[in-house]
């Protein structure tokens, strides 16, 4: 057993070693200040290590090592990119670097879009009030200092302000060209009162990636977030979604993950205003050398809010799925309606699911439920389908898709959900 103080010293030392020789990126006064603060947070708290309670199920070394490991590029063959048939504003990053030439113009009615570099050079009040602010807030009660590293050193990202109902989705596309890319991207999104937007993210990102998205959803505003993380096998990455919700606002975030040596998606949501609604969902399909971690923390800080966490994983061939999900209900948050479900379908004996569902409730008039299960395909259902003439493979495919359906149901737009469902069906069919 390593004493706490010694562990802390090791974490801090590791952070310092990573930061040594790295100077802060160039930028305007406000962003430089935010970066300095973030760097100081990282220096004080240190880098995560496997001995941290919060990293018990996921070894962070591939994310904290000085150098990224290579990851081969996945050949998509003749498969069309996801969301291709949707009318959207395309914003392309290649190996984590914004590619203006490959992107559409940064123009959409009711939406202001700029890059982090541009925004950092100007005194953009709302961006200043958001950049690193939610990340810093998210360091308590649990440290997530890879996000601080990102705030300090990310130079790439988009700064998006939504002032009305956006007429089409904003699609962020992460392409890869380099098997060795090590990317850090930091997005800011503010949805002004009563405004509404859909943000799509799609693509394998980089050989290693560290992403932060800070989201401020003002009173009565709505943000839909649908993400598909590509299919490259050997990648490692961590993403952080920090979202603050005002009164009567709504956030729906869905993530589809297939393949990846190590991917951790953290979702940190604060329901700050009354009657807010936050839904976080994920569907994960992994086979073989696959480790996927959903770590979610939803804080009910105001009365009459509703939150849902729906995470489904289909695992086989040694794949590991992790779910750490928490609902924290403050004393003031009466009449909270909180729901959390995490389930794994283990297709063989080598697959593993590790779950830590948590509720922490200080209000006395709330409705909170959580459940976590792992199991195999139900033999009765399988027999029923086969008795009706479906082949064993076809029947299993149907049952796997049925298992994932509850997570996909969290996507508000049925066309987007159907696009993802069909894609998943095609992937699973090819593997069967």
């Amino acid at each position: 057993m390593i004493p706490r103080a010694k562990l802390k010293a090791q974490k801090v030392e590791a952070a310092q070693a990573l930061l040594d020789g790295r100077s802060l990126p160039e930028g305007g006064a406000w962003i430089t200040r935010a970066r300095k603060d973030a760097r100081a947070r990282l220096q004080t708290m240190g880098l995560p290590v496997k001995r941290d309670e919060y990293w018990k199920y996921t070894d962070p070394r591939r994310l904290t090592d000085a150098a990224a490991q290579d990851a081969r590029l996945h050949d998509m063959g003749d498969e069309a990119p996801l969301f291709d048939s949707f009318d959207r504003v395309r914003l392309v990053f290649v190996d984590g670097v914004f590619d203006a030439g490959a992107s559409d113009a940064l123009a959409l009615d009711g939406v202001e879009i700029s890059t982090l570099t541009e925004a950092g050079a100007h005194d953009l009040h709302w961006a200043r009030d958001l950049y690193g602010v939610l990340e810093a807030r998210g360091q308590s009660p649990v440290e997530r200092t890879l996000a601080s590293l990102n705030t300090a050193h990310a130079t790439e990202g988009l700064v998006i302000r939504v002032t009305a109902k956006a007429e089409k989705p904003i699609a962020i596309i992460y392409q890869r060209s380099d098997p060795q890319s090590d990317a850090m991207v930091h997005h800011l999104v503010r949805v002004e009162a009563g405004a509404e937007a859909t943000i799509l993210e799609n693509g394998p990102f980089a050989a290693r990636f560290n992403q932060v998205m800070e989201v401020d959803v003002a009173d009565g505003a709505t943000l839909h977030h649908v993400r598909a993380q590509g299919r490259d096998h050997e990648r490692a990455g961590v993403t952080h979604l920090f979202a603050r919700l005002g009164a009567g606002s709504q956030l729906k975030s869905f993530t589809l993950t297939a393949n990846g040596a190590l991917i951790r998606n953290e979702g940190v949501v604060w329901l700050d205003g009354a009657e807010g609604s936050a839904h976080l969902a994920g569907a994960t399909v992994g086979d073989g050398a696959f480790h996927h971690d959903d770590t979610v923390f939803v804080t009910h800080g105001a009365p009459r809010c509703e939150s849902r966490q729906v995470f489904k994983k289909v695992l086989r061939g040694g794949a590991v799925g992790v779910f750490q999900g928490k609902i924290l209900v403050d004393q003031i948050a009466q009449l909270t309606d909180g729901y959390q479900i995490s389930q794994a379908l283990l297709l063989d004996e080598d697959a593993q699911f590790l779950a830590k569902p948590e509720l922490e409730i200080y209000a006395d008039d709330v409705k909170c439920s959580h459940g976590s299960t792992s199991g195999e395909i139900d033999p009765n259902q399988l027999f029923y389908l086969r008795a009706r003439g479906l082949s064993e493979d076809r029947a299993k495919l149907l049952l796997v898709l049925a298992f994932l359906a509850e997570a996909l149901d969290e996507i508000a737009d049925p066309d987007l959900a159907e696009d993802l469902r069909q894609r998943m069906e095609a992937w699973l069919e090819r593997r069967a």
Partner: protein, 253 residues
């Protein structure tokens, strides 16, 4: 059509539990046979062994459908060969729409039989017409398979599947269990509509009342995994009046 000869089966996990001890019967095209018998006599096991459910080991005997051995086939091959089992407890499948399920099943079987798959339009027309006859509304077709269905709805859904799949040999496993009088009539009407010269039925039931609606040609009494007596419809009435006691004593003699 369906020839069962000296069929012996035991539990796969425990070979001491012998459930079928030499069942023999023969259903000719156009005939309806009923199997009656007390609880634990092996009626439902017979339906599972015929349809290929895991968990049972056939140790002797044979079962053929139009000359083809069923016992060597996978469950889906038996379905494609024309066997249909209406389940005593239809299985709920959350996340799979009833319509998707029906269409996948119909097309899987058509494909296995070398027929063209039905287009979405053709399928929809067909399913609507058949559903209407069984008083299954559009809402029920949209819901996940059997989820939230009442007992009667589940059984009607089984008959709808039967009507859509047009099997040659239908095995109905206690289709009357959990049905009220009205539902029983609906289900029976559905079955009777499917009676045809080239189709056989094996109706497994505990009670005689279903046989008032679905009139059998032959009634078999099953006990301890064996057919102990066969006869006409009057045999079912005898059971209704006197119970199984006398018949079984007679069979054992």
């Amino acid at each position: 059509m369906l020839e069962i000869k000296n069929l012996h089966a035991e539990l796969e996990e425990d070979s001491d539990v012998k459930i079928l001890n030499g069942v023999s019967l023969s259903v000719k095209p156009g005939e309806v046979h009923a199997i009656m018998g007390p609880n634990g006599s092996g009626k439902s096991t017979l339906s599972y062994v015929l349809s290929g459910r895991d968990g049972y080991a056939v140790t002797d005997g044979s079962a053929t459908l139009e000359g083809e051995s069923l016992l060597d086939m996978e469950p889906e091959e038996r379905a494609a060969a024309g066997l249909f089992l209406a389940f005593q407890y239809p299985v709920e499948i959350p996340g799979v729409g009833n319509m998707t399920f029906l269409r996948t099943a119909v097309n899987a079987q058509r494909k296995a039989r070398g027929q063209d798959e039905l287009s979405a339009g053709e399928f929809l027309k067909l399913v609507r017409a058949k559903a209407k006859e069984l008083q299954i509304d559009a809402e029920m077709l949209k819901r996940p398979v059997n989820v939230g269905f009442s007992g009667g709805e589940k059984k009607r859904n089984e008959i709808l599947q039967m009507a859509m799949l047009e099997p040659r040999m239908c095995v109905l496993d206690e289709t009357d269990s959990g049905l009220d009088v009205d539902a029983m009539k609906l289900v029976s009407d559905g079955v009777n509509k499917l009676r045809a010269d080239n189709r056989g039925f094996l109706v497994i039931t505990h009670y005689q009342r279903l046989l008032n609606h679905i009139k059998p040609d032959v009634v078999h009494i099953m006990s301890h995994g064996r057919i102990v007596k066969s006869g006409g419809p009057e045999l079912a009435l005898e059971v209704e009046e006197n119970g199984y006691g006398d018949l079984l004593a007679e069979g054992a003699a």
